[in-house]
């Protein structure tokens, strides 16, 4: 027993030494993605976007000549796996920054990234990550979930034609940090603009059937409902609602709403609105050409969606920050953070709103477009800009 255990340990240490030897003079960036967990339906497209963006950057000059090495892992949307991956990336691989994913793990790691001074760009748009006085090393590229919900609520108010009463709204959200992220902001804003929040329904992370929750909502008579889960969950809710013959109008957040939704939910998705901070793939904006060309060259047979575009925009933002930090000869965690905070209306070619970070405000933008599914296609119907209220920072 002793000899076997010794041999195993020696083997493992040799392997570790070998792995470390492989690293060269590249810039190491960590990537924590969900490819197999409960949000993998959107996680995979995003990861592909990031990988492609990195490959394109390396093929087009890198970071002032240096290549990026993306060290990516699949953490299956499990917080312990993310923590372990983080420890490996920072402790062993010494990555300079991390492109992360989920709300639960990002919020869980926020103290750690602050201590280790590792800029963390998460796909999570949680409002809790926007206040640099609390989370100075957290960034993301979109209006926060809270601002997005506010924008949708404004759309509801504008869409509601009956002047005799306020519109009644319900929230559907997952039983995790991601689901709960914008809810408090939504509650307060509903009161502020005269919307009656009549019901809140919680769904588990993965579910087959939302009928009992929908029936509850029907009892409360909601006219509109906002769904804060991912595409698979939104589809289940929409289909169950249709089966129950509900007249409620549904809306979704940007991880539930994309080109994939009409494909999965089919006719149940008709008329559903959604927040889309990143444009659909193929939209006619200046920055799309790069993506389309890359797609043509490398995987012309795949379909891509707004999540893929989102991954690309993230790479465009942080490679720009790396370039600025490198020019300032400050290619460290703090240097990259400082570089990000010099972004003023940084243009990403129309793929999303221009990005601004300051040392007191990590909200990149507050303008949110609202799209709707019409005839199976995504069509822009409105756009709302939230004021940058200081009391909303960190909410």
């Amino acid at each position: 027993m002793h000899s076997i255990r010794m041999a195993l340990l020696l083997l493992c240490m040799a392997a570790a030494a070998h792995a470390q030897a492989l690293a060269g003079g590249d810039i190491k960036v960590g990537g924590i993605f969900d490819l197999t967990g409960i949000t993998s339906d959107v996680g995979k497209s995003f990861a592909q976007g990031v990988r492609d963006g990195v490959q394109w950057t390396n093929e087009n000059g890198g970071i002032n000549g240096k290549k990026i090495r993306l060290i990516d892992v699949d953490y299956g949307y499990k917080i312990p796996e993310a923590v372990a991956a983080y420890k490996r990336m920072v402790g062993d691989e010494h990555v300079i920054m991390i492109n992360g994913w989920g709300t639960g793990d990002t919020e869980g790691l926020k103290a750690q990234v602050n201590q280790d001074k590792v800029p963390y760009l998460s796909a999570s748009f949680s409002g809790h990550l926007t206040d640099p006085s609390k989370t100075p090393y957290n960034f993301f590229v979109a209006p926060s979930y809270s601002d997005q919900l506010r924008a949708w609520l404004r759309w509801v108010k504008d869409d509601w034609k009956d002047k005799s009463r306020n519109p009644k709204v319900a929230f559907f959200y997952g039983d995790n940090a991601y689901g709960k992220s914008p809810i408090e902001a939504g509650r307060r804003y509903s009161k502020e603009i005269g919307i009656d929040l009549v019901d809140e329904e919680i769904v588990p992370g993965a579910f087959q059937d939302a009928t009992s929750q929908l029936l509850n909502m029907k009892q409360k008579g909601a006219d509109y409902a906002y769904i804060n889960v991912t595409t698979t969950g939104v589809s289940t809710i929409l289909r169950d609602a249709k089966k129950l013959g509900l007249a409620t109008k549904f809306g979704s957040n940007p991880y539930g709403f994309s080109e994939a939704l009409p494909q999965v939910a089919k006719e149940a998705a008709e008329g559903v609105t959604g927040v889309m901070p990143h444009v659909p793939f193929g939209e006619k904006v200046a920055g799309m050409k790069r993506l389309v060309d890359f797609h043509q060259k490398n995987h012309p047979n795949d379909t891509h969606d707004a999540l893929y575009v989102r991954g690309w925009t993230y790479v465009l933002v942080w490679t720009e920050a790396l370039k600025r930090a490198d020019k300032a000869k400050a290619l460290t965690g703090e240097g990259v953070k400082a570089a990000l905070e010099t972004f003023k209306e940084f243009d990403v070619g129309g793929l999303t709103e221009p990005v601004t970070y300051t040392s007191t405000d990590h909200r990149p933008s507050t303008k949110t477009p609202i799209y709707q599914v019409k005839g199976g296609k995504l069509v822009k119907v409105a756009e709302y800009e939230m004021p940058r209220k200081p009391e909303w920072l960190g909410l």
């Binding site: 027993m1 002793h2 340990l9 392997a15 570790a16 699949d74 917080i79 420890k87 062993d92």
Partner: protein
Amino acid sequence: MRSGEFHTSYRVDMAIFETARARWILTAFLVVLFVLPIFGSSYWLDVLNRAAIAVIAAMGLNILTGFTGQISLGNAAFMAIGAYTTAWLANRGLPFVIVIPVAGITAALAGMVFGVPSLRLKGLYLAMATLAAHFIVEFAVTHWDSVTGGVAGTSVPFPSLFGFTLASDRALAFLILPACILHLWFAKNLFRTRVGKAFVAIRDHDISAEVMGVEVFRFKLLSFGVSSFYVGVAGSLLAYQARIISPENFPLSLAIDQLGMIIVGGLGSVLGSILGAVFLTVLTELLRLATGALSGTFPALIQLFAPLKLGVFGLTIVLFLIFEPDGLAAGWRRVRNYFRLYPFAY
């Protein structure tokens, strides 16, 4: 060259180390084990710590399932109880010498509560009751926001003792490894005492044991208690090691994995718990390294790590059950006896 074991007194028969050489080998191994954390990289220290925690948990489960024959799927729940107790107490500034035993005792009490069905249920039915216990505890943890932080989880400060903090994986190893050795030592000795033999009697034939005067229910409860204490301590150390705990740290698959560890290692054997836990923990890491290294050439492999881990675990369990039902410990003993008795066959 030895030609077999010939014991001439009860004392020698009950001894843990059959020869002086075994004692020396173990001492040397322990020395190396304690020197290792000084040199290890932070990744492998993490693995070492997690393996040691798994060993403690597997040992606990083995006491209950391997030695006492009570099938339990509630391990993850007891680990959660130990971990959340630790988080709650540590966040109030208590030193780890108090926190860890208290966490263990809390888990032990919970274990005894969930052991009550064992009075009337056996086999599959007991497994079902413990499975239900898992879901009930999971529900409680997820919804008792004020104490557990709900789904977002709670963070755990470093273990401290009168101002002295263990602030890194390296330092934690010097807490976890001795704890592990201590628990294994206690377990080994437990089965030389009356209590341990009562456990084994219950496993082998509980009706006969009752007839012989072993108070079956009392010892079953005690077994649940001791086992859950071990698992609670493992959960407590996990809380310190992971720094952030949430319900996701304790899914049902954790309990199933631990059952797998003791099956692969060998039911009813202290050595089996060690081998099983280390084998499966290291296997996971080797898989991770393999998929990571090969993902340069085959990027799609990263996506396969999760199903691979699941599949290889399951396959290992199935293969061991078909071909080596008594586990690695039995295999090790066969190999050791072969070399010890060479060139004789027995």
